[in-house]
């Protein structure tokens, strides 16, 4: 009886996700497919690999390298700091208003990007920024004399964390909620220290969620561009910025190359997913 039920139910089960897939096809896949085809078309409409081949030349190679590097760094640091901050706010002992305040602030900060964010950090860490001046006058140490500049890849990473950390906080909070107090108590009653709890219980439980969040942060950083452009004027090559040059600028005009770059982004993210799926499976193997 059970098997009969499940076998008959399986096709019906897919019906439940049909509305979503229809919507995704209509508004995401079809336009996206047009773009991907465009990457392989030449102006006459025939097929060509020229555009995609160009991706392996400079400056596009550097753009991909930079984008991947910045995304990995900001996703990693964002995940770590976001987790620490979220835990600090949610753990017991911390007043409830701290969590509410942090969550709502994170909601806003997670999308505070573009020129306003760049301008805020220029006003803070620029050559005449508030913090720079404070450090020069009060501490006698001018970071710009020692090779630091906010108008660089490092600067981009510092600024990107402003929306990566809040994104992590928002996404990981439900997972932290899922860490039951009873587990902590059980572990401590068995003699485990705080560090041992985290290493053997806490982190393994949260790893699947942390991995999901990392992938989200990576994608978020990979596709961001307005902030980096406002901060460095396009001198640090990033893939979305380069796409913008070719699709919506005042100088260059090459839609097919832009589409090829987007195709390249798809490949990078597909590779990321290929790494993510087995890792995720391994991390959640104990829970099923």
């Amino acid at each position: 009886m059970e098997t009969g039920r499940t076998r008959r139910r399986l096709p019906l089960a897919y019906l439940g996700v049909l509305p979503f897939f229809l919507y995704a096809t209509a508004f995401l896949f079809w336009p996206a497919a047009k773009v991907m085809f465009g990457a392989f078309q030449d102006d006459a409409g025939g097929l060509t690999l020229d555009h995609v081949q160009k991706l392996f030349d400079e400056p596009y190679r550097t753009a991909f390298k930079n984008s991947i590097e910045v995304s990995l760094v900001t996703a990693g640091l964002g995940a770590v700091f976001g987790l620490l901050l979220a835990y600090a706010a949610i753990r017991e002992g911390t007043p409830r208003f701290v969590r509410a305040g942090l969550t709502t602030f994170s909601g806003v900060a997670a999308n505070f990007a573009g020129i306003p964010l760049a301008a805020a950090f220029i006003a803070t860490l620029g050559t005449i920024g508030v913090v720079t001046q404070f450090m020069t006058e009060q501490l006698g140490f001018n970071p710009y004399d020692h090779g630091f500049s906010v108008f660089s890849k490092t600067g981009i990473e510092i600024v990107y964390l402003y929306f990566q950390i809040p994104l992590m906080i928002l996404v990981i909070a439900p997972a932290i909620d899922g860490l039951r107090r009873e587990w902590r108590e059980a572990a401590s009653s068995l003699g485990a220290s705080s560090w041992q709890f985290w290493r053997h219980v806490g982190i393994p439980i949260m790893t699947p969620s942390i991995l999901s969040a990392f992938v989200l942060l990576f994608g978020n950083s990979f596709s961001a561009y307005a902030t980096a452009y406002g901060l460095t004027g396009g001198s640090v090559g990033l893939v979305p910025i380069t796409i913008g040059f070719y699709l919506s600028g005042n100088v260059l005009d090459d839609p097919h190359l832009g589409q090829a770059l987007a195709f390249g982004m798809l490949v990078v993210l597909a590779l990321m997913m290929l790494l993510y799926i087995p890792l995720q499976r391994r991390a959640s193997r104990w829970s099923r």
């Binding site: 640090v236 005042n250 100088v251």
Partner: protein, 396 residues
Amino acid sequence: MEDFQEQEYEFLRRLEEEKLDRRKLLRRGLVAGAGLTILSMPAGALAARRKALANPPLRGGALSLKEWVAQAKKEGTLNTIALPPDWANYGEIMSTFTKKYGIKISNDNPDGSSAQENQAVRSLKGDPRAPDVLDVSPSFAQAGANEGLYAKFFTKNFAKVPRAMKDGRGFWVADYWGVTSFGVNTAVVSNIPKTWQDLLKPEYKNKVALNGSPLTSGSAQAGVFAAALANGGSLANVGPGIDFFAKLKSAGNFIPVQATPQTIASGQTPITIDWDYLNLAYGKEFPAAKIKTSIPSDGVYGAYYCQAINATGPHPWAARLWQEFLYSDQGQLLWLKGYSHPALFTDMTRRKVVPKALTAALPSAAVYSKVKFASPSQNTKAKETVATDWPKKVGS
């Protein structure tokens, strides 16, 4: 010539409407022939024209201004795109147009790029929100004309625009031009650089910026051209310009940030390489920064923007009235008030219709006389060089 053509068209159209036998045809032919002389008089011609024309004529001079205004008023609105009010005084131009002719202007996406303007024409074809008129950089104007996005139109003063600044077929015409200049925040920097070589001085450490990247910003690309002219390059060879910026960067003077009004007013980018009309306008808008504009004497490069009419725009009459307004003396002087050089500047100077106050607000004419413009092919070659070399030499 046109009048005859119009009458012929009108005649043939009427012919199709009725079944005519030979006699009637001959009689009408006689009447038409006799009437041609009478109909060629303005009043009669007006009546005939109004009945025959559903589409606007090809030339601005074909109708009187009153007729243009009457037809445009029936449409009531003009859709513009990518016109920042602070750019070459477009704000005043738009409000003057509305006040004078009673036609509302709906200005979308004031910060749009030329690519976005052309794209809006493609994507919004047939939509009432599509832009009627465009102001794009020359390479996009050419691409748009070749793609069939624009309509042909010859304003009354089309013939007076210099040949190098218009499309012979009538698809686009230059509206105003400016040159690359240094905008200096004298509250922060007291010594104004006068030449490109000056920029390398150590006192300007961390102070020089472009308005974006030369791969996407017309003004930044112009900066590269001008630097090339000043450093042994030419309009056909912008490599030395890129090398100059690389030198500027390694000297520590060049900050790779996009100069915006915020960075200019705050003093983060006290020396901004940008269009003269923008820098001069900043001088008025940010009094605290005491911005002075200096045009480097060793490399004077200029570029113009182009007016075009959307071939499938929703308000064709209003669009053409807008162009007629822009190329009238009033429109051109408003551009001059915005510190840019309008296309008919030489003609107006010759006719002595330019108020002294406006020319006095600009830097000396002597510097402007040295200006060089790039041809379309030079532009294309420069774009390719910049696209590959700039990220390598100046990027990171």
